[in-house]
């Protein structure tokens, strides 16, 4: 199939591994799904310490369930990406540990305090869910199928995150202040979740034309702000003055792009931002520590198939 045919036929769940897709499509889809998979993994690592640090047994259990879910999402997505025939799962995991794999800006920042957890678990998961709900209609069928399962599970993540926010904002004065501080710090990053505005986004055009992406950055950000600004206010959070966000007459929002730190954003996008580098290395260390488990499984797979382990 050539790109022209792909563009003509592009629709929800239109293409599957049976179709002979042009390299341009397969590369664009791989870039997008690999980024998504990497983000699931890096997000899980960011939240993992809170399985221990969460203040109650219920919260610890919920964090452990959520972290398991996120790692599972990563697995599903690497499978969907692998089905495009550009990179194997091993290659993608290696790229992630070598600092070549790209992932979401929000997961490059350290998260040290429990009051920060709703910034990820409510706002970032909420933003991710907004995007993922639209990706149920992506043109690459294995990706859409992964989104069915991911979206099924995510409702728990977002509500659990919101419940923590509610608890903190109805807690002591000190808790409320600390939560507001965390919000002030995270809010611009959360706005940047959707990337630069459409005119500046480099990959949007093609991905939209071939049906991989269903909505533009601006549309997604708008829908997110519409739902989540009222929620933040409901719990008594004050929306920071910067970035300036103005509501247009048609109810949509205009974010003043200049108020956001795009140098930092693009530094992060290149995996050059210091805390993020530490997180990539931290994950690599965890990965290396259980290398022997994967080796044992690989050897066993070889022998179980009736081939001696050293055959290749």
């Amino acid at each position: 199939m050539d790109v022209e045919t792909v563009t003509e036929r592009a629709g929800p769940r239109e293409f599957s591994p049976k179709d002979d897709m042009p390299e341009e499509y397969r590369k664009a889809a791989t870039r997008m799904i690999q980024f998504h998979a990497n983000s699931e993994i890096m997000g899980a690592y960011l939240e993992r310490p809170f399985i221990r640090q969460a203040p109650s047994l219920d919260r610890k259990l919920a964090f452990s369930a959520k972290v398991q879910d996120e790692i599972g999402h990563g697995q599903l997505l690497y499978r969907a990406a692998e089905s495009l025939g550009i990179k194997t799962r091993e290659e993608m995991l290696r790229e992630l540990e070598e600092g070549k794999g790209k992932f979401l800006n929000c997961f490059h920042y350290p998260m040290d305090s429990y009051v920060e957890t709703p910034m990820i678990a409510f706002f970032v998961d909420g933003a991710a869910m907004r995007r993922q709900a639209t990706l149920k209609s992506t043109s690459w069928e294995p990706y859409a199928h992964a989104m069915d399962k991911v979206c099924f599970e995510e409702g728990f993540h977002v509500k659990h995150g919101e419940d923590i926010l509610r608890e903190l904002m109805t807690g002591s004065r000190k808790e409320q202040e600390m939560t507001q501080e965390a919000f002030d710090e995270w809010w611009p990053r959360i706005i940047q979740f959707f990337g630069p505005t459409d005119e500046q986004s480099t990959h949007h055009g093609f991905a939209a034309e071939v049906g991989l992406k269903q909505m533009s950055n601006d549309q997604l950000r708008n829908a997110f702000l519409n739902a989540y600004i009222p929620k933040a206010r409901k719990y008594g959070l004050e929306i920071p003055d910067y970035p300036r966000i103005e509501k247009r007459d048609d109810g949509t929002y205009e974010v003043r792009e200049d108020d956001l730190d795009w140098d930092e954003f693009f530094k992060i996008a290149k995996n050059d931002y210091e805390p993020g580098v530490g997180q990539i290395d931290g994950r690599k260390a965890a990965q290396d520590a259980v290398e022997w488990v994967r080796d044992v499984l690989d050897d066993y797979e070889q022998t179980a198939r009736g081939q001696p382990a050293a055959a290749d």
Binding site: E14, M129, Q132, A133, H145, E153, K159, E162, R166, Y228
Partner: protein, 105 residues
């Protein structure tokens, strides 16, 4: 030899199990599947797989979902929270439906 058959109704749907056929090889299994399972029911694609190649675990031997209370895993548990957005509400509805069917009512 028995081949299990999976039918996909429309492009983009899941292939779901719909029965099996006797056939000496994969090619004939596909042909028989086409005749038996693809004729009347709407079909976009069929898969066949040798029955012996399919592994199974059932509720006799496994405790699906575990034996302990894992209500913290479900969106419905967070009752005092109204879904922030449509997609969160949809997810919760899917979970509630799955939970209902899992419990068998």
């Amino acid at each position: 030899m028995i081949w299990e058959v999976f039918r996909q109704e429309e492009a983009g749907d899941y292939h779901t199990h719909c029965g099996n056929v006797h056939a000496p090889d994969r090619e004939m299994a596909l042909l028989f599947a086409e005749i038996q399972h693809g004729r009347r029911k709407p079909t976009h694609s069929l898969w066949v797989a040798p029955k012996d190649e399919i592994g199974e675990v059932d509720e006799e031997t496994a405790n699906f979902g575990g034996t302990t209370d894992k209500s913290y895993r479900w969106a419905m548990t967070y009752q005092n929270i109204d879904a922030a957005a449509e997609e969160v509400a949809d997810s919760e509805a899917e979970q509630a439906e799955a939970d209902r069917r899992r419990r068998g009512d």
